[in-house]
């Protein structure tokens, strides 16, 4: 057991820290004031593209197994690096972090399911460092969030073509994406077995983005509704091609035995909490002399400890789940511990920081109130806190989940 962070990771987080200070934080504050997402032509994105940020993708790497990969694999550092970078980026601004160029959630879907041709066609453009590019991913619908088996966006075959109709919600970055991986169903009564994924290119007739959801926080990225009205596609747009779906009893696209995403979102929550902690620390150091025997200061001292305790415990839960993913140790339960614990811990931490700052903390220019609005999303995205409890109950306590 060793809890030190190796230099190969800190050298990367230092780079994120520089970008965060220069770009993430000011852009995030600006977006919060105006309510508009960071524009796609922002200098930050060109800089990142130039640095090769969007180009670190592997094309044509076929997955070893599909869906249920229970084989042990060689230990890497990917998940641990991911949580550290995610925490640092969210420390500066989680909303801006979501807008960073790259294939986004569509990337793993393409790499895991896509044919060689699809991967080449849709991922190769990201290798061009002169221009920032985005991909997007649309699963959630207005009527189906946690329970993805309930999606109703239809894909029907007609004369050898696919016709898509439906609506997707909370589709991040789809306003600027070259393509969106859209999930639809051939038959809603089949649950996941009826699901098909399509790559829908920007400008496809029938595809529109009628609105950006106005949100409480995380305003730096656009959460879009995506409308599909008689969108006509061929098999070349069916992710993985028709053969991918043959003889399958449904696929676990989103549920993996080695989960790196839930620890990542958990770490992002902790990053937001740490931002509140650091800001509060400055406010305290500049305004209060806590060594004085003032009753309110006694409360503040106690709350400082409460904040630290929650953030430390959460951070380590996310690290451990990531460490397990890196070592091919099934971490479904531990990833859910982290994902269930960290967001609520971070919400409480930010809230306690506001207690410490007092009524001045309500002012938008005080920054921590923004974090309070931002951080709540972490308990909702990537499986709500309730879904995490459900996962733990099922995996550890045999809960059948009816």
């Amino acid at each position: 057991m060793n809890l030190n962070v190796p230099e190969k990771i800190t050298s990367m987080t230092r780079m994120i820290s520089w970008l965060g200070k220069e770009y993430f934080r000011p852009l995030g504050m600006e977006a919060d004031r105006t309510g508009n997402p960071v524009p796609p032509d922002s200098e930050l994105y060109f800089k990142l593209a130039e640095m090769g940020f969007q180009s670190r993708i592997k094309i044509g790497k076929k997955p070893k197994t599909d869906g249920d990969d229970n084989k042990p694999r060689k230990a890497g550092w990917g998940a641990r690096t991911g949580v550290m970078i995610g925490e640092e980026a969210s420390y500066w601004d989680r909303g801006v972090a979501v807008t960073l160029p790259g294939p986004g959630l569509g990337g793993p879907a393409l790499q895991k399911m896509g044919t060689q041709e699809q991967q080449e066609k849709y991922l190769t453009p990201f290798l061009d460092t002169s221009q920032p590019r985005w991909g997007a991913f649309g699963m959630t619908e207005p009527g189906a969030g946690s329970d993805v088996a309930r999606i109703v966006t239809r894909c029907e075959q007609k004369d050898g073509r696919w016709i898509l109709n439906g609506e997707k919600a909370f589709c991040s970055n789809s306003d600027r994406a070259d393509w969106i991986v859209i999930w639809a169903t051939v038959d809603p009564t089949q649950g996941r077995a009826g699901h098909r994924a399509f790559i829908v290119e920007k400008g496809t007739p029938g595809l529109s983005i009628p609105r950006h959801e106005p949100k409480m926080g995380l305003k730096a990225y656009a959460s879009c509704s995506v409308l599909l009205e008689n969108v006509e596609l061929g098999d070349e747009h069916l992710l993985g091609g028709p053969e991918y779906y043959e003889g399958r009893e449904g696929f676990k696209g989103a549920m993996k035995a080695f989960d790196a995403t839930r620890p990542l979102v958990a770490a992002m929550a902790i990053g937001i909490g740490r931002a509140a902690w650091d800001h509060t620390r400055q406010v305290v150091a500049e305004n209060y002399d806590l060594s004085r025997p003032i009753p309110r200061y006694a409360k503040i001292r106690a709350k400082v400890v409460e904040v630290k305790r929650r953030l430390d415990a959460g951070k380590l839960l996310s690290w451990r789940a990531a460490w397990m993913a890196d070592h091919g140790i099934p971490n479904t339960v531990e990833a859910s511990y982290a994902k269930a614990y960290c967001p609520t811990a971070a919400i409480e931490a930010v809230s306690l920081c506001l207690d410490i700052i007092g009524d001045a903390g309500i002012r938008n220019d005080q920054f921590v109130e923004k974090l309070y609005r931002d951080v709540k999303a972490m308990d909702i995205v990537e499986g709500t806190g309730q879904i995490q409890r459900r996962v733990i109950a099922r995996r550890r306590f045999g809960y059948p989940g009816q």
């Binding site: 990771i9 209060y288 806590l290 400890v305 630290k308 430390d312 269930a340 733990i392």
Partner: protein, 351 residues
Amino acid sequence: MDFSISDEEQLVRDTAADFARALRERSREAETNGVHEQLQAQYAEMAFESLDWPEAHGGAALSPYLKSLVVEELSYGCAGQMLGLEPRALVQYAIAALPDGDVKAALYADISGNAPRTLAFYIDAEDRLTVDANRIQGTIPWVPNSSADALVVVKQQTFYLVTSGFELNAVLPCGLQAAGASEVLVNAQAEQAIELAPDAVARMTAQVRVYLAAALIGVARASLDYAFSYTEEREVFGQKIAHHQGIAFKLAEMAIAIESARMLVMQAAFALESGPGDSEAALALIQATEMSLSVTIDGVQLLGGHGFVKDHLVEKWMREARTLSLMFGGRDGAAIDAEAAGISNWGFAAA
């Protein structure tokens, strides 16, 4: 960022877990009769008490983390018997805090070997004792011992050794009966009064807190596992109790809380390897206290009426968690120290 333990550590942990099963079986009997002699002999053979003591003083010098894992496993069996089996484990941290010299060597000799002496140990966090020219007076409300050859008191920065002029009277404690329980009446001239270095006191306190926090985790785990088995066997309204979502979520929340406290114990044990670990250990004890109080109370609740009666062990763990978490200053003492450390270490002091 490595959460693995070595094969050797795993072996030690498994051995502790095996032994804990024997402790569990005797839980009830030990509450009235104390630790069985045979288990004492077996435990002495295993030499787990001195697992983290320095090699120079007969210990195995293994890591604070491994010790915490062993304490967790043994407490999963029975925390009261564990304290009775290793009555020197905690006072050793005070002895380790002494400056090197004859007194330290002599005390280590006392607590090691084939016929080790028992030193009752009290940190006077609540200022219950008065000291005047090294004369100690007052009443210690409770120590987990039925008898003691000597008494060690740490008050503020001073280590006092009392070898006569004190008496132990049996009391009935809320939990941990198996270890024995006594109040200590002291009116004695301390044989030794030794000033400890501030860092040494911080480290001693941290080690004690990690020990207690690890024990609380073991107790809470025991309660969760037991309550889960019960709710899985019994049915209400046509299905297993555990399969009602209100219960399933409760079990999940208990598990999450336990893991969060475990992480902080791990962090504190790691900090002890390279420094005093004082603020980390204080955080761990606060977390473990809050977690264990809620988990062991829920453990009773999940068994309903059966939880309240002595046919089942969940009521014992509820009493045990409350007892362990009041020792050595409890969570309030930890919070006070964490606040002091926090203001100076975490950058909250006025510039």
